[in-house]
């Protein structure tokens, strides 16, 4: 199977995965059956009570999401926004369909503030993504969290755009 067809298959399977966003403080199980084997659950604060419909996912869109391996965060936050959640969900689907694949979630922070606090923040960001994966059924055994804090920036500037790029979780697959 070539890469493209593999991705399309993954994307199709992704649409069938039960999805829930998850936040440690606001973990809720307000599931709603949407038919066709797809069910969602809301995350309360982040998505509203109705959850985010996934039934109309396009395979191309999903492949596109899977090609995104960085999830970005707001300042001093470890919460996933709607766009980040979609990326996390696509990767969770991939992992569910490739149960022997291990993933490393590498958390990072921007340079502002203290290094140890940022190391903890990077860990928290990685854990937020791991929580989404686990809630979607990915085995915790297959997930490794690593935090580099502010030590490994991708952008070296000292401005908002660099800081935005550096507040991230990198999703890395062990191959």
């Amino acid at each position: 199977m070539n890469n493209t067809s593999k991705l399309i298959l993954i994307a199709l399977l992704a649409g069938m995965v039960a999805v829930s966003g998850c936040n440690k403080k606001t973990r809720k199980a307000e599931g709603s059956d949407m038919g066709d084997g797809v069910s969602t659950s809301g995350t309360g604060t982040e998505f509203g009570p109705d959850g985010k419909p996934l039934g109309d996912w396009q395979s191309g869109a999903s492949a596109d999401l899977l090609s995104q391996t960085r999830i970005y965060f707001a300042y001093d936050s470890s919460e996933l926004d709607v766009d980040s959640m979609a990326v996390a969900e696509a990767h969770a689907a991939f992992l569910l369909n490739n149960p022997s694949t291990r993933v490393v979630l590498e958390g990072h922070a921007d340079e502002r503030g203290t290094r140890e606090y940022n190391l903890a923040l990077g860990e928290r960001r990685a854990q937020s993504v791991a929580d989404v994966f686990i809630a979607l059924g990915v085995s915790a055994m297959n997930i490794d969290n690593v935090s580099y804090g502010e030590e490994n920036p991708v952008a070296e500037g000292h401005d908002d755009s660099s800081w935005h790029l550096n507040r991230r979780v990198e999703i890395r697959y062990d191959r």
């Binding site: 403080k25 340079e111 203290t114 140890e116 860990e123 580099y148």
Partner: protein, 460 residues
């Protein structure tokens, strides 16, 4: 200027420095050539050039104690390095408590108390006078004598003699600075101490991180760890013989304790998740550290004798950056439990958590002075992360710096100065500020970025 016999030797000694400085400037003007040269020479250089750093006083004071430091007489073979009087003068000036009178104003050049004509020093308004001599005693050994005199009273306040190896001349200069400082301010000096810090250089193979230990003025740097992965959070043991630090050499954060004398080290925390922010207890028997091994980032205490580990905090918010109170009975730390980083205090048994900071939305990385009266931290204000100090009795907070990205503040063991990392022209530099904010200086290294400084305790 009056130069008496015997001074030629001093100046030949200093001439060595001038020549070295010229070489340095030449090298600086040819950085590319220097880089190529360094690659060729890197295998040959035994000890790094001493002038790897420049100290620049960026904020001074108008009033200090007026002191005249007469160049010590030199009798013996010249030794590479700076003159002791220059070191003493630089130390005292950096403290912000002294005003050194220019040598050009001196009317005489005495080297011991007997030679001093006090009226000559009253005339140029020196309150105190330092005189001394250096004499070669044997191969590579020297006898250093100095005296501190009260110009107004016309008497000698103190004097010492040291018999030392030539390699210890800098250290003795710092010890003399300490004695002068203590005699004239009533407080212990902290010049004869060390600093630890991390340098980062970009190489063709990626970044190179060096954990280094140097004299308190940045000289005599020695590398104690060399890694291609990040290093951070250096913390001194109270006897100044060991450093704990965080290394990513195994691709994630782990805590090591390394003995400085022989470089022997031990991995003391490599739990799942992060291992970070080590801090020795004041009696050296325990190490507070941070781990996420149980899910949340919590503070733990490792008993270094029994190896027992005790969890201190328990909250889903981030708890990190523990720092012991000088009496060892409690710690201060950063917690995100209120929704933003603020500083809290906790008893060493995990009881009695109490919030210390309420102003501003970001207060982190606390460290308490040895007398327990002041706490230094990083505070955010107007989008800048600067060094601030809190009076622990009145809870009053004073901003010490106005730079943008300050980090890792630590007190000198006498509590009078704070060493921290900041940024100048896109480069990490070390800087120091007096605890009252009146004097500020930057220590700029020629090699790459510098970060994560930690000031040692007193050397025993």
């Amino acid at each position: 200027m009056i130069f008496r016999s015997g001074h030629k030797k001093i100046f030949s000694f200093q001439g060595y420095n001038i020549a070295r400085d010229k070489i340095l400037k030449m090298k600086l003007s040819n950085m590319k050539k220097l880089a190529a040269l360094l690659i060729i020479l890197s295998g040959l250089i035994v000890s790094p050039a001493q002038a790897v750093l420049t100290i620049e006083i960026t904020k001074g004071v108008d009033v200090g104690i007026p002191i005249a430091i007469v160049p010590f007489s030199w009798d013996g073979a010249p030794v590479a390095g700076e003159s002791m009087t220059n070191i003493i003068e630089a130390d005292l000036t950096r403290s912000g408590r002294f005003d050194s009178i220019p040598q050009a104003d001196f009317l005489q050049q005495p080297h011991n108390a007997k030679q001093v004509r006090f009226k000559d020093w009253r005339l140029i308004k020196a309150d105190y006078l330092v005189v001394g001599s250096i004499r070669q005693a044997g191969a590579g050994t020297y006898t250093v004598k100095f005296q501190l005199l009260d110009v107004f009273k016309g008497n000698t306040l103190t004097g010492y003699q040291y018999n030392i190896q030539s390699t210890k001349l800098r250290n003795v200069a710092h010890r003399i600075s300490d004695i002068i400082y203590e005699k004239l301010t009533g407080e212990k000096g902290a010049f004869n101490t060390k600093i630890a810090y991390v340098t980062v250089e970009k190489t063709k193979k990626g970044k190179r991180y060096l954990l280094q230990v140097a004299d308190s003025d940045g000289f005599n740097p020695q590398t104690i760890l060399n890694s291609h992965q990040p290093l951070m959070s250096a913390a001194w043991s109270p006897d100044a013989k060991k450093l704990a630090y965080v290394s990513f050499e195994k691709k994630r954060s782990m805590i090591y304790i390394q003995r400085l004398s022989d470089g022997k080290r031990e991995n003391v925390a490599s739990f799942k998740g992060i291992n970070s922010a080590p801090a020795f207890s004041p009696d050296g028997t325990k190490l507070a550290f941070v781990s996420s091994k149980e899910g949340n980032t919590e503070i733990y205490v490792l008993d270094l004798r029994t190896r027992a580990i005790k969890r201190l905090t328990n909250h889903h918010g981030i708890d990190t950056e523990p720092s012991w109170l000088p009496n060892g009975r409690g710690l201060v730390f950063t917690s995100g439990r209120s929704g933003q980083p603020q500083i809290y205090q906790i008893n060493a048994d995990g009881s009695g958590i109490q919030r210390l900071t309420y102003s501003g939305k970001y207060n982190a990385r606390p460290s308490v002075s040895a007398d327990g009266s002041l706490m230094v931290m990083i505070s955010r204000g107007n989008g800048r992360y600067h060094v601030a100090v809190m009076n622990l009795r009145t809870k009053e907070i004073t901003k010490l710096t106005d730079t943008q990205l300050d980090e890792s503040p630590s007190f000198a063991p006498n509590g009078r100065m704070v060493l921290y990392a900041t940024e100048q022209a896109n480069k990490g530099v070390l800087a120091a500020v007096s605890s009252d904010g009146r004097v500020r200086q930057s220590l700029r290294f020629l090699q790459g970025d510098v970060r994560e400084p930690a000031w040692s305790p007193y050397l025993r």
